[in-house]
C-alpha cells in the first residue's frame, strides 16, 4: 500500500457520498448533512457489514430453490413439462448448441454464485481487517456492482417466453416458482453490493498501519 497516508476519516473529515464534497462533520458520531447537496453525511455507512451479510445470506438461501425449482412450465399437447435452469443448460448442451448452453450457464448459474462468493470474501476480509490487496478488492467490488444490472437475463427470457408462447390449446408456457427465487437472488445481491461500503476495505489497511505504527 502506498500509504495514502491521510484518510478523511483520520483527518476528522467526511466526504459526501453524493457530490463528493469534503466537509467537517458536526460531531464525529453524527456527521450531519452535506452543506452543498444536502445529503446525509456518513463517515462510514452504518451497519454496512451486518446489512450486507444479511442480504448475502438471504440471496444464498434463495439461490438453492432458484436452481432446484422449475423456472418454466411448458405445456404442449396436453402434457406439462417443468424446466429448471440447469435442465435448460443440459438440454441446450445435448441438443448441440453448446455456446448457448455456456452463456446460460455463465449468466444464470455462475455469475450469481460468483457475486455471492465475491461479496462474502469482501465481507470476511473487511471483518478480519486483512490489510493489503485493497486495490484488487476494490476492483472486485466494482465488478460485482457492474455485473448486478445484467444478471436479470434469465428473468427476462422467462417473462418474454411466458408472454409470447400462449397458443392455448396446443402449447403454453407458465412461470415456475424458481424464477421468483432467481429474481430474489439478483435483487438481493444488488442491494447487498449497494449496502457494502467499499471504504471499509481501506480502513482495514489503515488500521493495520496504525497497529503497526
Amino acid at each position: 500500500m502506498t500509504a495514502a497516508a491521510l484518510t478523511a476519516a483520520r483527518a476528522g473529515l467526511v466526504s459526501c457520498e453524493t457530490c463528493k464534497l469534503l466537509s467537517r462533520p458536526v460531531h464525529p458520531d453524527h456527521a450531519g448533512h452535506c452543506p452543498r447537496c444536502g445529503a446525509e453525511l456518513e463517515s462510514r455507512r452504518a451497519n454496512s457489514i451486518q446489512y450486507t451479510w444479511a442480504l448475502v445470506i438471504a440471496a444464498a438461501i434463495c439461490y438453492i430453490p432458484a436452481n432446484l425449482l422449475p423456472v418454466m412450465n411448458t405445456t404442449a399437447f396436453g402434457s406439462t413439462e417443468p424446466d429448471t435452469i440447469m435442465g435448460g443448460v443440459v438440454f441446450l448442451y445435448t441438443s448441440g448448441s453448446w455456446p448457448l448452453a455456456l452463456i446460460v450457464l455463465i449468466a444464470s448459474v455462475m455469475v450469481p454464485l460468483a457475486k455471492l462468493i465475491a461479496l462474502g470474501y469482501l465481507l470476511i476480509t473487511v471483518q478480519r481487517g486483512v490489510p493489503g490487496g485493497g486495490r484488487e478488492r476494490t476492483r472486485l467490488y466494482r465488478m460485482v456492482e457492474f455485473i448486478g444490472r445484467w444478471s436479470m437475463l434469465d428473468v427476462f427470457v422467462d417473462t418474454f417466453t411466458v408472454a409470447l408462447v400462449q397458443l392455448q390449446p396446443l402449447m403454453s408456457v407458465a412461470p415456475g416458482p424458481g424464477v421468483l427465487f432467481f429474481a430474489a437472488v439478483v435483487v438481493l445481491t444488488m442491494i447487498a453490493a449497494e449496502t457494502f461500503d467499499p471504504r471499509l476495505i481501506w480502513d482495514a489497511g489503515s488500521q493495520g498501519e496504525r497497529q503497526r505504527g
Binding site: N47, A54, L55, P65, G78, F181
Partner: protein, 556 residues
Amino acid sequence: MPVAKGSASVAENTDRNDLPQATVVPKRRTRISVVWIIPVLAAAVAIGIAIQRILSEGPTITIVFKAAAGIEPGKTFVKYKDVNIGQVSAVELSNDFTRVTVKAKIAKSAAGLMVEDAKFWIVEPRISLTGVSGLGTLLSGNYIGFGAGSSTKKAREFVGLDEQPVVTPEERGREFVLRAATLGSHDVGVPVYFRRLLVGEVIAAELDKDGKGVSIRIFVRAPYDQFVTTDTQFWNASGVDVSLNASGFQVQTESLIALLIGGIAFEAPPGAGAGPAADANAVFQLFATRDAAMKGPDLDVEHYVLVFRQSVRGLSVGAPVEFRGVNIGEVTRIGVEFDPKTFNFVQPVDIRFYPDRLRARSLDSGATLPPPKTAEERLKRAQLMVDRGFRAQLRTGSLLTGQSYVGVDIFPKAPKVKLDTSKVPLEIPTVPGEFEELETSVASIIKKLDRVQYEKIDADLRKAIGTLDQTLKDTDALVKRLDAESVPALDRALEAGRKALKSAEGTLDPDSATVTDLRETLREITRAAASIRALTDYLERQPQSLIRGKPAEESK
C-alpha cells in the same frame, strides 16, 4: 465549536502535556439489525417449500413392462380414472435386457392406491369393431393406465400388464370361464349378450395346458352378472342361424356386431328354476348353438353298438339316434367288419346314448323314476328292453338327400334275441330297415309273377280276338241293311215336308207382290250405285275427261 478535541487543542494545552491522551474507541453496535429479517424470511420460504415438497412427495414405484411403447421420462403420466396420479421419472432396461423397468413418482394423495394387486398398463389408441378408445393419446402421447387393487398390502414394485385390459379393474361385475373345443371367433373384446343386451366382453382367451381345449374368460358387468346362475348355459352367438322348420324359415342372429366379430350369449334354459348365482370364475361349457345350449348338457352318456347286416349308405357320424322322433343319441362311428370263416360282412355302428333324455316315468303316479345308476342296473334294464322287442333300425330321414338315421322302437313281433351281456359296448339287436322290408316284398311280388302261365294267356287272347272279329262283321251287315231300306223312305218324308212349307209360305204372306216390287226397286238402286262407282272410278283415273270427253281409244 462547543467541544475542542483533536491534536490541535492538545498542542495548545502544553501545561497538561504529560497527561496521557484518552483514546476514542468507536462504539461497536452489538444490536442485531432489522435487516436480518430478510435472510430469515428467505430461509423460511425456502424451507417451507422444501418441507412442502418433501411432504407431498409420494412413493416412487417400479413397474416392469415388456416394452415401453411411447413412454418418456418426465412426460408420461400415470392416470387413474383420467386423473394424473404420477409421472414417469425413468425408463431403463432390466438387468437381463429382456424387459423394461419404468420408475414413476406417484402423488402422495394416490400413495394409498399402490397395493399389491394394483394393475398398470400402457394406454395406446385402440381401434376395433366394437369401438375406438384412447384417441386422446394420439395428441398427448401414451400414458400408463392404472387399475386399483383390492389388497391392503402396500407394494412398490409391480409387473405391468402386457395389454390394455378390456375391462378396467374398478368396473363392477364378475368373471367366468367358458370352456370350448376351439376358440372360434371369441377373441378378446368380443361382446357377451344376455337376451340380446350387451352385458360383457371376452377379456382373455387361452389354450388349456393339455392343448385339448380353450378357456375363454369373460366379464359380465354388474348388475347383469346376477343372471349368471349355476344352470345358465352359454352359446356361441356369432354368425347367423338359419333354420327351416314347420313354422317357416327363421334367421337368428344376436346383433350386427355379433355377425361381424362374433359373440357369446347366455341364458338359463327354459324350465330351469332360478338357481343360485354362479360364483366368480365359475366354469361353464360353451355350446355351439343356442339349441344345443338349451337342450342342456348331457352329463350321462352310455355307449352301445348296433350291428347292421345291410348297407349303411346315408348314415354319417353325428347322425341322430331317435326314439319315435325324439333325439336320444348320436352315431359316433361306422365301421365294417368281416368274418373270414363265413365271409359275412357286417356294419357295426357305435352310438352314444343319453339316458337323461329318455326318462322313465310311472304311468300310474306320474313320478319320474330315477335312471339306473350302476352297471348291473343298466344291464338289467337293457335286457328287459330287448326282451320286449327294443330294436334299432336304419331309416331314411330324407328321400331327397338320402340321409339316414338310426331309429329305435319297440317291435313286439321282432324275433327274440339273446342279449350278449359280455360284450362291451353292449350290442343292441337290429331289425331290417324300412327299405329293406320294401325290397323283400317287391322281391316276393316278382317271384309270384314268375309263376304266371303266359302260354295259356296267349291262346285265350287269340280266341277272344277271333270272337271280336265276328261281332264286327255282324255289325257291318246290319248297317248295310239299314242303308237300303230306311233312307228312301226318309227322302220321301222330306219332300212332303218341303211342299208343306212352300204352301205355308204362300198362304202366310199376302203382300207378296209389294215385296217383289220393293225387291225390284232395291235391285235397280244397286245397279245405279254400281254404275256411279264405275263413273267415279273412271273420273278418278281420267279427270280430264270431264272437259275433254272420253279419249278416242276409250270410245272404241
